[in-house]
Amino acid sequence: MSTHVSLEPPRTGNPGRSQRMRTRKGPGKVTRGNFELYSWLFMRASGVLLVFLVLGHLFIMMVTDGGVEKIGFAFVAGRWASPWWQFWDLLQLWLAMIHGTNGMRTVINDYADKDRTRAILKGLLYTAAVLTIFLGTLVIFTFDPNIKG
């Protein structure tokens, strides 16, 4: 047990790659600090918020008022006229993307054994995540209900 880590997340599921690497280096040499602890905590904190944000989103979009049939440009324009829904969607976008990317990072760590494969897959993952968060944020902030076409 390292003196660095005072609180460790419970070992649910497979031990991740980083935990295996950590033990290989021996006690007292924690190379990644408390990163995995914060990652574990973030998944739970963001998860609780996402339950409300995403299930609320799906309920409004898919269940109420005719389900998916009602969705179109006019419907989006009506919703994003309100800062409440703009903020809802922005928070939902960021939390879901980071939560999902961190989950995929764990999956890659668990199943990709070669260092090079892991590096490539994670490189692709992080690039796609950053671009998607950037695009989504841009769309929410620059939405124009009077766009031509």
Partner: protein, 132 residues
């Protein structure tokens, strides 16, 4: 806990509720994550033109795609409720003891909501397919 021991071969985790809920959490998580990429991209079309956006969103109204959407809602709901179960196991002192019962509560709540949402989610598809 007699239910945990299955003779000499059995274990508490392998092949039981704990393992399968972990597998399901992974699978639903990965599926939802891939959809999220597609969904941000289709929404971004509101910056192209109302016509382009409406055209692509029209795909979602196809009955077969509608069925996939019901699957998506099912995956998200399971991931959400089982995620709350994981939090209960990690932070509630009695969570680990009741993890199996919690899983059946998750499955029960999931089934009730899916049944309730089915008609409102598939109104149009039911109309198109069966004339309801």
């Amino acid at each position: 806990m007699a239910s945990g021991a299955q003779g000499a071969k059995g274990t508490l985790y392998r092949g039981r509720e704990g393992m399968w809920s972990w597998v399901a959490q992974r699978v639903t998580g990965v599926l939802v994550f891939f959809f999220l990429f597609a969904h941000v991209l289709d929404t971004a079309l509101v910056r192209v033109s109302p016509h382009t956006y409406n055209q692509v969103i029209g795909t979602y109204k196809n009955p077969v795609v509608n069925l996939l959407e019901v699957g998506l809602v099912g995956a998200v709901m399971f991931h959400a409720f089982n995620g709350l179960r994981i939090i209960a196991i990690d932070f509630w002192s009695k969570g680990p003891k009741y993890q199996r019962q919690l899983l059946w509560a998750v499955v029960g709540l999931w089934a009730v909501l899916m049944l309730g949402f089915l008609e409102p989610m598939m109104q149009h598809t039911f109309h198109e397919w069966f004339g309801w």
